[in-house]
Amino acid sequence: MKVHPAIPLRSVISTLAGYARIRIVEQAKLVAFIVVYLVAFQVLVLRVPLSNALSIGGGILMAIMGLALFLEGLLLALMPLGEKVGLKLPVRTSIVMICAFSLLLGFGSTLAEPAISALRVAGATVTAWDAPLLFLLLERHTDGLVLSIGAGVGIAVLFGMIRFYYGITIRPFVMIIIPSLLAASVYMSMDANLSTILGLAWDAGAVTTGAVTVPLVLALGIGVSRAAPRGKGSRGGFGVIMLASAFPVLGVLVFGYSVRNQVPEPVSEAVFFSKAHRAQSKKLFTTEEALLRHAFTRGSEIGRRACFADDAGYRGKLKKYAENPEAFQGMLGDMTISTWLARQASESERMVITQTAPRLAEPLPDSQLSQMLLREGQLALRAVLPLSALLLIVLMVFLRDRPKYLDETLLGLAFTLVGMTLLTSGIHMGLAQLGTEVGAKLPIAFKTDDQFVDYVRIEKFDPQVVSEAIDADGDTHSFFYLKQGDGYLRVDYLPENFNLNQGTYQHFITRPPMFGPNLTILGIGLVLLFAFGMGFGSTLAEPALNALGITVEEMTVGTITRGQILVVVSIGVGLGLLVGVGRIMYDIPLVWLMVPPYLAAMVFTVLCDEDFVAIAWDCGGVTTGPVTVPLVLAMGLSVGRELNAPDGFGILALASVFPILSLLVYGYQKQRQQMASLEGVAEP
């Protein structure tokens, strides 16, 4: 070996600077779209000023740095490691060992990258009376749910590796699994209880394949496919992600089916909380307290009243809470009183609570940067370390080999860890906050009535300040001026808000609908446009998709570039989100929206080239990752909450199927162009 050439420090610095610049600029470009889009939407369309600009800006910078580091880490350590293990496994061990390893890897990756938190966020509005089975899975049988998803991913990786080992095409897998899942879904959609878990099942499939799992499994598949005697050679390696998205759906459906007898039938809210139904309801809750909390945090006044024997009992309880806000807050749990007032409380409840309750200091959100970094760092450690340790152990102990450059692998792992920490923290601080802000304000675009924002209690209200005004018809209106800061606000005087005994007046601050009471079509159009843009923009920045794009470009020698994959898939996700939000707004059953695109995708699966089919189906599982999920959920939930949608599920599933379809259509189009250009060749 030749001697290490002496390199001047200046060259080292300039080389490293160039290296870093290229990667950071690349990610900055990908993130730019979604940032500009969100800011423009908020400031120009919704006309709400940007709050926390500094922390959001900082968060975005962190996310960009995180993305660059994470992707580089994947390319330096995890992917070469996965590929190396994949290359060695068929040579040094038997197919049985490969199966065992795949099962372990698939199962382990689900535990390492828990998708369950995202699913619980999506299920934040699930109510026990509308969807008892869904509630049971999400709140009580969380472990069972995670295990069934993990088993699904494990079996998927196992089937994927068997496929590569024996060089079986992807088509039979698509043609058997997808129709079975669709048939099961259609069957379950006919049962009131089972139909509620369909969204959860399909979403579980979409979110399980995380940003670490995807590149790892992809690289492993590429390795096995190349080294197996009957493998597909240099073009194989795709298709496992598709299986890893499909089998968890099956896992959740089977699990849900098996526990369906443990829950009561869906009933109305009033019946659910009534004393007569209590024995049934208690199947879902451990304590009375939990039941009451559920009535307060997710139910309406009807449910809460039903909890008590009579109206007086309920009023008395409410008064007690009004006098003792700490107890009230304790009962509400994670939800703050002001959120409860804005979202759940009826007008009369609002009156009772605001009349007497002294304002509680809002618990400050956990925004300490160092704490967040620590928390996200632990999650990153959990996602990266066990999987890479498993790979390293298998490689070094069982396969008796080592990475070509151990220093490079360790540096890559460090990059992955730091990158993931910065990325997820940055997303929480920047993009998700921006997304939540816009998402929360989005409903004003299609709302038809005023929205409660906050309230002001005026102590010692003097009715003397009320003035009268007259309109053209001779009707009189009362109003008064409220001094706020340096300005004076004109407030309509409503006699029912004045409490003569206490001498207080309650002024409720509301926001009028954006397009007037009737003009909702424009508002709905705006929301759909927003959904499309958000899906498109956030997918562009998704690191796992980037890694997949790089791999595809490499495998196809640039015939399909990363840019093409990114754009086509992002358009698909945008469309999926548009349909998903549409589903929430119009309450369309998920099955109706899932079956047609999947059927269309199957038709194109037959028409398209085999290699491309596997790539396209993989992209569906890759699209929902650390950038998309928080943003999409924030939006879906706020829209859903406004429309009293039972849950926010289904959006992620739709964001998975549409990219498959868009990519297949694109591939088919390209293939036809290719054929057409060849047909132009004539005999000279």
């Binding site: 030749k2 330096l76 080294a227 005697p229 490499e554 020698v557 015939t559 250009s677 132009g680």
Partner: protein
């Protein structure tokens, strides 16, 4: 035909695509079109090269522009089971077919540009198409060499290489080379390098443009027809204009290099490259090929590594011997080693004495 081993490499060819502008804007819009292609490599004894080539042309209808190219190069090959391979060859001659009489083009050269980092090849391909040199074929590979001696700093230097293959008339080479160097900036360090290998004969695809066609025959078809009529490409010799003779004279081409190719199992790749580098080679470019044919070991994967090294002529023999030592250590292997005369023409570069060439490869 009974070829013992066929090595397939995936790549793409770049053509111009002529089409209308969108929204009915008048004019013809020229875009770049990428099509996936396969590059097949196999070896046959030199005396049977022409008939093999003709039968491939016949079977794949390569005489039609747009179907593909074929060319043959003289090489020296070492490996197990080669004698058997020679005997297995059987070709059905259809001499009555007029195609069988079509003369092959002579005086061609295979130019290989190895460029650092993905995306660089597109510019070069575009220039090649604009100059009408030929249809560029782009493949991918990974480089080993200086990068591996830099320690951890190596991560800052992309290992991915794009390899542009161009087969063009030999007499055009100097002028075209000069233009390529200027257009792609290959005369700057770190961008990549160019070398060429001699081609014995071949039949080239001339369809550089696809899509909208205005006339009864395209320029490509006319060129192909005249090439065939004249049995060569001499008639289209490029006249250099505008290039100062001074610069032309400074363009030095070294004949002192040769190209060494190793077809091996992927897991042995590093071992071979390491051995070659210890014996004096400066670096290697590896690509992935898939082996088919009756000589393939059914218990092994079909994927092979093709490592290409440019070595100075004087070092060719010691390096070759070092590689054979490694192969011997593995016993009965189907790994193969090929040596080809390769005059190098660029900033960085590698080369050998003229090697006797008992084998001929048809690419």
């Amino acid at each position: 035909m009974g070829v013992d081993s066929l090595y397939t490499e995936g790549g793409r060819i770049v053509r111009q695509l002529a089409g209308p502008y969108p929204l009915g804007i008048p004019g013809t819009r020229i875009r770049i079109n990428n099509s996936p292609v396969d590059l097949f490599r196999f070896t046959v004894p030199p005396e049977r090269g022409t008939e093999v080539a003709r039968s491939v042309i016949h079977a794949a209808k390569l005489h039609m522009p747009g179907r593909g190219s074929i060319f043959a190069q003289e090489i020296l090959q070492v490996g197990n089971g080669l004698e058997e391979a020679e005997r297995s060859l059987s070709i059905r001659k259809e001499v009555s077919d007029p195609l069988w009489q079509t003369p092959m083009l002579q005086q061609l050269t295979h130019v290989i540009c190895i460029l650092s980092g993905p995306g660089k090849a597109d510019r070069l391909a575009q220039v090649a198409l604009e100059l009408g040199i030929g249809i560029p074929l782009i493949t991918r590979g990974r480089g080993t060499g200086i990068r591996d001696r830099l320690g951890l700093l190596r991560i800052a230097i992309p290992a991915d290489k794009e390899i542009v293959h161009l087969v063009m008339p030999e007499h055009d080479f100097k002028s075209v080379f000069r233009l390529l160097m200027e257009e792609v900036g290959l005369n700057h360090p770190g961008r990549g390098y160019v070398y060429r290998t001699p081609v014995a004969y071949g039949m080239l695809d001339t369809r550089m443009r696809i899509g909208k066609q205005k006339y009864a025959a395209t320029m490509d078809q006319i060129i192909a027809a005249i090439d065939q009529l004249k049995s060569g490409t001499d008639w289209r010799k490029r006249i250099l204009c505008g290039l100062p003779r001074e610069q032309e004279r400074r363009l030095t081409l070294s004949d002192e290099h040769c190209q060494l190719s190793i077809y091996s199992l992927e897991r042995r790749r590093d071992e071979y490259v390491q051995a070659a580098m210890e014996a004096g080679a400066s670096g290697a470019t590896t690509t992935r090929v898939t082996q088919t044919g009756w000589q393939r070991d059914e218990h092994e994967s079909a994927v092979r590594s093709l490592s290409t090294l440019g070595v100075p002529s004087g070092m060719a023999v010691p390096i070759f011997l070092a590689l054979l030592d490694v192969a011997d250590a593995h016993g009965d292997t189907h790994d193969r080693f090929q040596l080809m005369d390769s005059p190098v023409c660029c900033a960085k570069g590698p080369s050998p004495t003229v090697v006797p060439s008992p084998k001929r490869s048809v690419d």
